[in-house]
């Protein structure tokens, strides 16, 4: 009666098992291309200082609004700055803001969500605060938050994070609400485990899979919001080039030099498209229920 399958799993395998493919699942060609594009863009942005030909901030009055040439691969802007160098360097900040906002909002949202999901008393108060945050349009809230602070990198990340947090909180709370009814959680209560222990060891792991998916979406939308903020002049100061403020500066010259908006815009779209596609793939792999039913 004691035959048990002989395969063994280490704790590590279970963790990586989160990402391993279920039998029969196939990753299509789309997500593969997305992954390649994303890796190329990230590498190009991170390594930008090593290969860009010019300092992205150095002006050259003799070379204003030049068309693409050997000296300036994508031409120059009205101040004679090299567009190629600026776009590549600008990607660093954009990506940093995207990833930073995703990590911070997931971390903060996770903590608040766990508390809201597990403690009835805190739930009402926390969720009403979250509801009121969600009632304000994200962009408006972000602009207000930046306006309150210096337009620095960290204040932009905070401004983007705050409107995202309620979404994460709701997600985590809903997972905790359903997980805490599981008999294994009741068994843990019966075994005398303390509340923090149950919260962190039993309930929190349930939220990881949906949070990974949510994180990718936040990352994409943060890059976009940063661009919008810069475009509206409420973003990082123009001394630090980002895709958003390069486009903002270029819009006056759009008629004569469309490349100033086109190139950062292209990278921005590719980047967001890839991240979203990867997020969808992760969702399908992590949640078998989302797999479409054939029949």
């Amino acid at each position: 009666m004691t035959e048990i399958p002989t395969s063994r799993h280490s704790a590590f395998q279970v963790l990586t098992g989160l990402f391993s493919l279920p039998a029969g699942a196939r990753i299509g060609i789309g997500p593969m291309i997305a992954a390649v594009i994303l890796v190329v863009i990230v590498l190009a942005a991170v390594l930008a200082p090593l290969y860009v030909p010019y300092d992205p901030l150095s002006m050259d009055a003799m070379a204003r609004l030049k068309p693409p040439s050997e000296a300036h691969l994508l031409g120059t802007d009205p101040y004679g700055r090299d567009t190629f160098s600026r776009v590549m360097t600008g990607g660093r900040v954009s990506l940093l803001i995207g990833i930073g906002a995703a990590v911070v909002s997931v971390a903060v949202g996770l903590m608040i969500g766990l508390v809201a999901g597990f403690f009835r008393v805190a739930d009402g108060v926390i969720m009403r605060i979250m509801d009121s945050l969600m009632a304000i349009p994200a962009i408006l809230l972000a602009i207000a938050l930046v306006a309150l602070n210096e337009p620095s990198l960290s204040s932009v990340i905070i401004a983007i994070t705050v409107p995202e947090v309620p979404r994460v909180v709701r997600l985590v709370r809903s997972v905790v609400l359903s997980a805490r009814e599981e008999p294994y959680v009741e068994a843990a209560i019966a075994l005398g485990s303390s509340m923090p222990k149950i919260l962190i060891q039993h309930l929190m792991p349930n939220t990881f899979a949906p949070l990974i998916v949510q994180g990718t979406y936040i990352c994409a939308s943060a890059i976009l919001i940063e661009a919008i903020l810069s475009f509206l002049g409420a973003g990082v100061s123009t001394e630090i080039p980002t895709w958003g403020n390069i486009m903002a500066e270029g819009r006056v010259y759009f008629q004569i030099k469309p490349g100033l908006i086109f190139w950062p815009g292209l990278l921005l779209s590719l980047c967001i498209l890839s991240i979203n596609l990867l997020g969808d793939t992760a969702r399908d792999l992590l949640d078998p229920r989302m797999k479409k039913r054939e029949g």
């Binding site: 004691t2 063994r8 008999p183 209560i189 019966a190």
Partner: protein, 561 residues
């Protein structure tokens, strides 16, 4: 005991299955899921497919309906013939027509089989609108007639009710009406009464038999419950691991089973004869429950609402080494009592004294040190262990909470594995690598790890196959003998209660209606409700384990009311 066992060799054959092999899609070399199934059902006959979970009963029925999931299972060879029509070669459009008119199916869970946003009457009528040319008025008249045939009360009201407004039994009646309204030749019933209470189960079984007689339908009845088989079957096929091991008329199978597997299956079936009574222990009681009340809801900010009284004035005591069973149907409050005692919920009033400490009114923090005295085993072995934790970690959780060093806890966990008859080296595996019975053993080991004085088993064997059920009951008995633990055993199944309990407490709608020694309550019930419960227990007049009738069915006295 009366069996149906009618002879159908003269009747016309409705379903003929020959050498049916079903395997995993695209993997002809893999072990088959169904291996050479032969089956015959004639008009008016009830054929039962019985077997443990995973034996292939449901796959057989799905194959006959042409409903095998195409990306997982496929028919590899064989013949399924419905009155001369070969189902294996049917096109999807033909199959759809066939499913409505010739074969119908009812499922285990009527709530999920009905559309929650449509009125049930309209759902029955939809079948008529799809497959017949009846006018709206005729369709409605026929629907109402069918609803009357399945003995639904107040048909006009129920016609325009939504599924959630009906009870489980009423929903199953709707399903039956829907299945039979086009007068099919074959009705496939896949565990149709498993989710119902015994008294409702009895009514539904009677209804199926009545409808069958009236319409001459052939019935393929799938169940795991030998008692139900004895009540309803004409012929029986016993399935094991995708094969039919034995096929015989019901009386022959129950009196003279030929195959070892059939014998083993029958021996494991519990009957209503109570266990031999054990001596009363002289030690003081482990648990005393006095005047326990639990009301859900109630209060309310603007308007005082009544609330639901799930348990009212429950009193009992259990001595070390003794088992008290709480039986009752769903909604009787038996689980509420268990959860109050475990303090998973807070009782509204009353006293619960465990190992000398009054725990009902303690705060969560004050309760913490006393938790080790009482432990619980849940019903669903698939959900009561954290799927992300190794067995070792689950077993150590409790002792470590109470200050046992990790090494000592690990050593103890290894001993516990042996105690529950599992290998020590399975400690670093994860729950999904075990079967349901093995997981339930682990759950028991986890509870025993705390060396509790009181073990609460909340429907702990209800989700298990009968043979596994018997093993787990034995294990609980062993543990009780070894550690002298007092046990509170919650179950809806009187037969299980008879196997393990010294005392039985019968609950109905939150009230204790009867309480006494198991032998007394089960053989000499004084309350109407207890009598009904016993009367409804399927196959109660048959002693499956000894292949004979129970000559003096213990509940016969006074059960005529």
């Amino acid at each position: 005991m009366e069996f149906k066992s009618r002879d159908f060799s003269a009747a016309k054959r409705i379903l003929k299955i020959r050498k049916l092999n079903v395997g995993l899609t695209g993997r002809p070399k893999a072990a088959p899921v169904l291996d050479g199934i032969d089956l015959d059902i004639r008009a008016g006959e009830t054929h039962c497919l019985v077997g443990e979970s995973g034996s292939g009963k449901s796959v057989t029925s799905l194959a006959a309906m042409g409903l095998l999931p195409p990306d997982a299972l496929e028919i590899q060879s064989g013949l399924i013939d419905l009155e001369g029509f070969d189902i294996t070669a049917a096109r999807p459009a033909q199959m759809r027509e066939l499913r409505a008119r010739r074969i119908a199916m009812i499922f285990q869970e009527p709530m999920t089989a009905l559309n929650p946003v449509l009125r049930v009457g309209e759902q029955i009528e939809e079948v008529l609108n799809m497959h017949t040319d009846l006018s709206t008025a005729d369709a409605k008249a026929r629907t109402i007639d069918m609803m009357e045939q399945v003995h639904l009360p107040d048909v006009q009201r129920i016609y325009s009710a939504f599924p959630h407004q009906l009870s489980g039994g009423q929903r199953q009646r709707i399903m039956i009406a829907m299945a039979l309204i086009l007068d099919p030749d074959l009705l496939i019933a896949d565990e149709p009464t498993t989710a119902l209470d015994v008294t409702t189960q009895l009514q539904i079984l009677k209804l199926i038999a009545e409808m069958q007689e009236r319409h001459g339908t052939a019935v393929l009845f799938i169940t795991h419950d030998m008692g139900v088989v004895a009540e309803i079957a004409d012929t029986v096929s016993v399935m094991q691991k995708g094969r039919i091991v034995e096929s015989a008329p019901i009386r022959d199978l129950l009196t003279h089973p030929k195959e070892d597997y059939t014998k083993k299956l029958l021996k494991a079936v519990p009957n209503l004869a109570p266990r031999p009574s054990r001596g009363v222990s002289a030690k003081s009681d482990v648990i005393t429950v006095a005047g326990l009340d639990m009301t859900y809801g109630g209060g309310g900010f603007f308007r005082k609402s009544e609330g639901v009284k799930a348990a009212r004035d429950v009193n009992f005591t259990i001595a070390p080494g003794r088992t008290l069973g709480i039986v009752g149907e769903s909604g009787s409050g038996k689980s509420t009592v268990a959860r109050c005692i475990m303090r998973l919920i807070d009782p509204t009033a009353g006293k619960v004294t465990v190992a000398g400490t009054e725990i009902a009114q303690l705060s969560r923090r004050q309760l913490q040190p006393h938790r080790k005295h009482f432990q619980i085993v849940f019903q669903d072995p698939y959900r009561s262990l954290n799927p992300r934790w190794t067995v070792a970690r689950s077993l150590c959780e409790g002792p470590i909470n109470f200050g046992t060093p990790r090494d000592a806890a690990m050593d103890h966990a290894a001993e516990l594995m042996e105690l529950v008859d599992l290998p020590r080296d399975a400690l670093d595996r994860y729950p999904h690598q075990f079967s349901g019975g093995q997981r339930q053993r682990i759950a028991i080991a986890r509870a025993v790890a705390m060396k509790p004085d009181l073990l609460v088993a909340d429907e702990a064997v209800s989700a298990l196959d009968v043979s596994v059920q018997a093993q787990v009951l034995d294990l609980l008995d062993d543990i009780q003998e070894k550690f002298g633990v007092a046990m509170l055993f919650i179950t809806h199944d009187l037969r299980v209660a008879a196997q393990i309990c010294d005392e039985v407490l019968v609950m109905q709608k939150g009230l204790v209606v009867e309480h006494g020694p198991a032998g007394g309550v089960l053989s000499n019930p004084t309350h109407e409700y207890t009598r009904n419960l016993i009367e409804a227990a399927p196959g109660r007049r048959w002693d499956f384990a000894n292949f004979r009738a129970l000559d003096s069915a213990p509940a016969n006295q006074g059960a005529t009311a």
